[in-house]
Symmetry: C3
Subunit: 149 residues, 3 copies
């Protein structure tokens, strides 16, 4: 089970070619690309920059970094970011409650069919690594499973 | 790996029976139903018309065809639809920025367990092809993988 | 294909250890954890209580139990809950249109890679059963598929 190592400050990184290089010879079945991290995901979409900006704007609107003031205390934080209430993290824990919620719009893993060792992505689909946090060391785990003939 | 060909102007098409007919004999494992298109998806839910209307209304609200005016220029377009800025498409490229964003709510593929050649969908779940664009020629790729005994 | 039986009034139940116990010996490949129900799902995230509250608040806001009044009739119901219009259910059918829509944010199943019979969940990821309805008898179907060496 190969591992793709990544470290990037870009939100979307097209990893299609990196995955293709790992496909076994004469292979037919599925590739599963899995993120073992909670704030980076795998996503299939068109590699068109303006569309990717649309996705970013959509998330910025629905899941902003700072929420609209709410409740009696005009809270603007995600509860996950109320660090002083959490005993499980140091006081300088990074603020990423929004990154966790944004992951609801993507998947932990994606499955893609393979025929004759080629990903059947169609004309426009590409595989993206989605980084929802600042740059970190990340790994994606690739698993190939044989299809039934 | 069988391929289901579809062409419909309906948003939701129940494809459960079509998938069932493709299951190999005496099979146990998983079916993966994959869309190689960026603006049509696979979805599992109840085949109840009013619920499907709820899904449509929810998407119309959260991801409208025309956005609320935003920014200094009162922009109402998805950036993907600012065709005059894109060198990669003809000027009559279809307007479907919203279809791309709506795909965030569905999946490129769904996996469903199979025992004794029957999909284990439970009492209410059905498999839907979701068309987010106007009618087009579409294909879904079905992959069966054997389960471990 | 083992089945996990659950019945809980909690929205999020960490089932990681229950899944781990079912992994075959010396196994490498994928686990698929599948919900055959329309209003309970499988989800991978950090088991941090304040984050889980954030998820709940996010859903309460985007998909409230009672909608803002809309249209000429100031409708506050999901159409799925207009029971008197549906011939397929008794008049005391439970009100859960919002639960159906909330399922758009989760998945019917999750796939997780396994090496040496261990789930490769990374440091923070855990597997959750997500109950979007009041307490019911539920089943999750676990399928293991071998990876290609």
């Amino acid at each position: 089970m190969p591992v793709l190592k990544l470290k990037t400050d870009k939100m979307f990184t097209d990893i299609t070619e990196k995955v293709e290089k790992l496909i076994p010879k004469n292979f037919q079945g599925l590739a599963n690309i899995y993120s073992p991290h909670t704030t980076c995901c795998v996503f299939q979409t068109e590699n068109e920059l303006l569309h990717l900006v649309d996705v970013r704007f959509f998330l910025d609107k629905l899941v902003p970094y700072i929420k609209q003031p709410e409740g009696e205390h005009r809270n603007i934080k995600y509860l996950h970011d109320m660090i002083s209430l959490r005993n499980d993290v140091p006081i300088d824990e990074s603020i990423n409650g929004h990154s966790h919620i944004r992951s609801l719009f993507f998947n932990s893993s994606e499955n893609i069919p393979i025929r004759k060792s080629k990903l059947l992505l169609g004309e426009w689909k590409r595989i993206f690594f989605v980084e929802l946090d600042p740059m970190r060391n990340r790994e994606l785990i690739i698993t190939f499973v044989k299809g039934h003939n």
